[in-house]
């Protein structure tokens, strides 16, 4: 089993690194963010752009880079992505689970490990449905 996990990890990283500059956060949300990785935002913001986006749509921290969330929004609007993916665009994504760093998000998706959140977060989500 560990061999299979290592293989999956290698394949996932091999595919995602060149295309999305994947940092292997282990809890991939690409499908819901217009196929743009929020972990490439210098502030690693998973819930939309900060207030520092420049007038030309570029990043506050790296002026040469287009804001990840400007790109994500454009793609969410223009790409023919499945409706269910687009519906998840405005989800309140939970804080990154640092324990998953370096693991395969595919495996975490299958085992639903990537849906585990701290008890307080899970309780509020259950009570308000507001996510």
């Amino acid at each position: 089993m560990p061999k299979l996990l290592n293989l999956l990890l290698a394949v996932e990283h091999g595919m995602k690194k060149p295309v999305w500059d994947c940092t292997m956060c282990g809890q991939c949300v690409l499908h819901s963010t217009g196929m743009t990785c929020p972990m490439t935002c210098p502030k690693t913001l998973r819930n939309g752009p900060c207030g520092g986006v420049r007038e030309d749509g570029h990043c506050e921290v790296k002026p040469e880079m287009r804001c990840v969330w400007v790109k994500a929004y454009d793609r969410k609007v223009s790409l023919p992505l499945p409706t269910v993916w687009k519906e998840h665009y405005n989800d309140l994504r939970p804080p990154v689970d640092m324990q998953l760093k370096g693991t395969s998000s595919w495996v975490n998706l299958i085992t639903k490990r990537d849906q585990q959140t701290p008890a307080g977060w899970a309780k509020r989500k259950e009570e308000t449905g507001a996510h």
Partner: protein
């Protein structure tokens, strides 16, 4: 007790907020001077958290000092410098001292400050931090561990309707509202069309979210150019800069611009008040407040 919450939920009164000057010197005497200057006009004032990525006396300490001197704080917590444990510790500390208004912000990047070599944290982002405050209000930490007595935070946030992607800013404000924000202060901006669109979009969906746009008091065209060139997220159209720069009396032209902005903002749906940023430090603040129909100590 949060007077800010009471006013917004139980009255139609216009709410004025401001920024408490950072404390780097002058000690408690300086805190008192600032309180004396601001308290006649403002219901609550932001205690900032390492504003613009510069270290200062901490958010919690300044909020406590303000409260001791009789000025209601809106204690900011910024995600740049603190991981989720530290953010929750600030919240629990505020609760311990009876501070109810808290504002959760993502924060400027470390590169905006005078120590750009600092490690940036951003363990949470703004919307997540708001949700964490809501979790504490329900009586537990993020982990589910009990916090008693549960806080009664009035949760505030900040949005920038002037920065791209403009259409998305409304959705982001709505997300913050879903996470628990009840009031949203807006960043400085010089595009009234963007402000109108934002307020209309937010008020149409969540009329109970109090929108508080910013108005800046400046003395000349120079700071307008500076903000446009140097502050990411702020763009000032050339015609606005020219209007002040080409005036015979720049200080007066800058004042008239601010007054016009204030009146325009107050006329928009969802807007419950204004956030005044005073870079002039003269008697213009009083002038503006009188011109907006205010008199001192109306909140007392």
């Amino acid at each position: 007790m949060s007077k800010l919450r009471d006013l917004l939920t139980q009255s139609k009164d216009v709410v004025y907020t401001a920024e408490f000057p950072v404390i780097d010197g002058g000690g408690m005497e300086q805190v008192k001077k600032n309180v004396d200057r601001l308290s006649p006009w403002f219901v609550a004032v932001n205690a900032t958290d390492n504003t613009a990525a510069h270290a200062h006396a901490s958010n919690v300490s300044v909020a406590i000092a303000m409260k001791q001197h009789g000025l209601e704080p809106i204690m900011q917590i910024v995600c740049r410098d603190k991981n989720r444990l530290a953010v929750q510790a600030d919240m629990a500390g505020a609760n311990l001292h009876g501070i109810e208004n808290i504002a959760l912000l993502t924060g400027d990047d470390v590169t905006a400050g005078d120590e750009p070599e600092t490690r940036r944290v951003f363990d949470l982002d703004g919307p997540q931090a708001i949700n964490v405050a809501s979790i504490l209000n329900a009586g537990t930490y993020l982990s589910g561990r009990k916090l008693s007595p549960a806080p009664n935070f009035f949760i505030c946030s900040v949005e920038n309707p002037f920065a791209p992607p403009h259409d998305y800013r409304i959705e982001r404000a709505l997300k913050k509202h879903r996470a628990g924000a009840q009031m949203i202060q807006l960043q400085i901006g010089y595009h009234p069309d963007r402000l109108e669109k934002f307020c209309a979009g937010v008020a149409a969906t969540v009329p109970d979210l109090a929108i508080i746009p910013s108005v800046v008091l400046i003395k000349s065209a120079k700071p307008l150019g500076f903000m446009n060139d140097k502050v990411p997220g702020i763009s000032v159209p050339q015609e606005v800069i020219d209007r002040v720069a080409q005036s015979a009396d720049q200080a007066e032209a800058a004042y008239q611009l601010a007054l016009e902005q204030a009146k325009h903002a107050l006329s928009l749906p969802g807007v419950r008040g204004l956030h005044i940023t005073d870079f002039r430090h003269d008697d213009t603040l009083e002038r503006l407040m009188y011109d907006l129909g205010r008199t001192p100590n109306q909140y007392k």
